[in-house]
Amino acid sequence: MSGTASAKSGGLAARVRARIPETTRRDNIAGWLFIAPVLLWITVFTAYPLISSLFLSFREWDPLFTDKYVGLANYAELMEDKIFLLAYRNALVYAAITIPLGLVWGMSVALAVQHIRGRAFFRALYFLPTVTSSVAIAVVWSFAYNQDYGLVNSLLRYVGVEGPNWLGHTQWALLSISLVVVWAGTGFWMIVFLAGLLDIPQEYYDAAKVDGATGWQSLLRITLPLMSPTIFYYITNALITVWIQFEIPFVMTGGGPANATLMPALLLYDEAWDRFKMGYASAMAWVMALVIFVITALHFSLSRRWVNYDR
């Protein structure tokens, strides 16, 4: 009625409005057609596999010979599988090294680089490992850790220290791998932290200075509380990636020596593709998902105590 009238009068917006009733049906069809490819992909490569893997985890299953329903037996077996528990123990040690170190180092570099000349250059340089494949990083570092001619021990010799066999010794291997992961992640987190730092209004620091605050006090009372959402994001991410780490230990040590660097994902891969115990490996995958879910939920609920969202 009034729509038709104004359509006749000819304004562009009015003409568009007049078309809405006819286009609603067409939009429904168009919308679903446009998202159809993505839905197909999600169905085939995410939704179906998700359900399928849950079913597999209740079976003893390999692609060729075995297919038997075993109920929760896979899960029960996992809880007594010493190697499986060791992989999680290793992941905990790895988390205890990489998460705090990555945070402190990434934040220090971000704070230090924030106002200095050549910031763009350093930012680009630190970011380089992020665009490099984990495999390339792992290959280079496995040579760099060589006891005799490796880069690390060669540098240590300059200061008169004879370095250990980093990757060959059970005592050092996990630490060595963790350090590579921190090294590789620094640039990425520096960028994220820098973005957080740039969001803090300069006036806060100016006001603090007028009130006689030292740089250290500004850091503790202004920077860190206002950076807490970014730090929260870092920890969320780190708590997930810990359990899915694969490439670096796979290439550098293959989980050795004597399982010292065995990680959950590495073991899952071995069970599924070396031993073809795909049911058992699926149970491992679901334990992994559960661990990630529980830890993330815990982290989110604890965050209310320390993450500061009001600016």
Partner: protein, 293 residues
């Protein structure tokens, strides 16, 4: 004159705060430079060593520069493995994955940004929620799907699953929402179809966003190990990271080919590093926005 002034000046020890204020910028600079050297050294060491003989690499104490610069390692790369084939595989898989991802993700993103259809918001939430599924959970059945399709050891098997880039959908949708709707409305009134509006108007305007998402996808594909590891069982279908990883794991003989392996590693990262040097801001923006790498 100067001497007089110096003599007349009253000297006192600087206070602690003054020392700190003087020292702090120096410490900051030292930290950044030290970290920068630490970041660069393994790369520099890799490149320098790739021009050394293996005996030269093994020398103790280490010499930074080759005693004699030799290019032979780069020739040897192609002898100890079908390196050219790996390179070709990586290029084919990378290009296929990227083009496919740009197509399906931008289509979905356009629908979520612009078309009003029943179930839009719930579908968007559902699709976004799939990021939270750890991909090790879906890996085994996804591999079985590929196996069932007869796609093991094929380019489509390597490339097709990687075309789904949820973060890409999210980023493109954000970008499409910033395009003024008037332009589309005008075309709509002129009788253009949705498909025409999407392909002729929206996509050309979204070039920077498409570049960001395309680079993210390309980099993910170029660097990925796990998926090729389970899909490519034949040596001829290995991608670069897989080829390198397998070779690096054959400890026995390959340790004597350190120079060649380092040369291969250098060659394998070269394309992405070069692209990164030219298109830095797109990489940094894409990765900083995407969060989960």
């Amino acid at each position: 004159m100067t001497a007089e002034r110096i003599a007349n000046a009253q000297y006192r020890l600087p206070t602690l705060a003054e020392v700190r204020n003087q020292l702090f910028p120096v410490i900051k600079y030292a930290l950044v430079v030290a970290g920068g050297i630490g970041t660069a050294l393994p790369f520099i060491w890799m490149v320098l060593s790739s021009f050394k003989t293996n005996a030269d690499i093994g020398r103790i104490p280490m010499h930074w520069f080759p005693t004699e610069w030799i290019p032979q390692n780069y020739a040897k790369v192609f002898e100890i493995m079908p390196f050219a084939r790996f390179y070709l595989n990586s290029i084919i898989v990378g290009v296929l994955t990227t083009l496919g991802a740009l197509l399906i993700c931008s289509m979905a993103a356009y629908a979520f940004a612009r078309i009003r259809f029943i179930g839009r918001d719930i579908m968007f939430m559902l699709i976004l929620a799939t990021i939270m599924i750890p991909w090790w959970v879906t890996l085994i059945p996804a591999y079985l799907v590929i196996r069932q399709l007869g796609w093991l050891n094929t380019y489509q098997g390597l490339a097709v699953p990687g075309m789904l880039n949820i973060m890409g959908i999210f980023l493109l949708r954000q970008f499409f929402r910033t395009i003024p709707p008037d332009i589309e409305d005008a075309a709509f009134v002129d009788g253009a179809s949705r498909l025409q509006i999407y392909s002729r108007i929206v996509l050309p305007m979204a070039k920077p966003a498409l570049l960001t998402v395309g680079l993210m996808t390309l980099m993910g594909s170029w660097n990925s190990l796990v998926w090729p590891l389970v899909i490519s069982q034949h040596e001829s279908m290995r991608t670069l990271p897989l080829g390198l990883a397998v070779l690096a794991n054959l400890a026995g003989w390959v340790r004597h080919e350190t120079g060649a392996l380092l040369a291969a590693t250098f060659l394998s990262i070269l394309p992405i590093v070069v692209i990164y040097m030219f298109l830095q801001q797109y990489f940094i923006r894409g990765l900083a926005l995407s969060g989960l790498k």
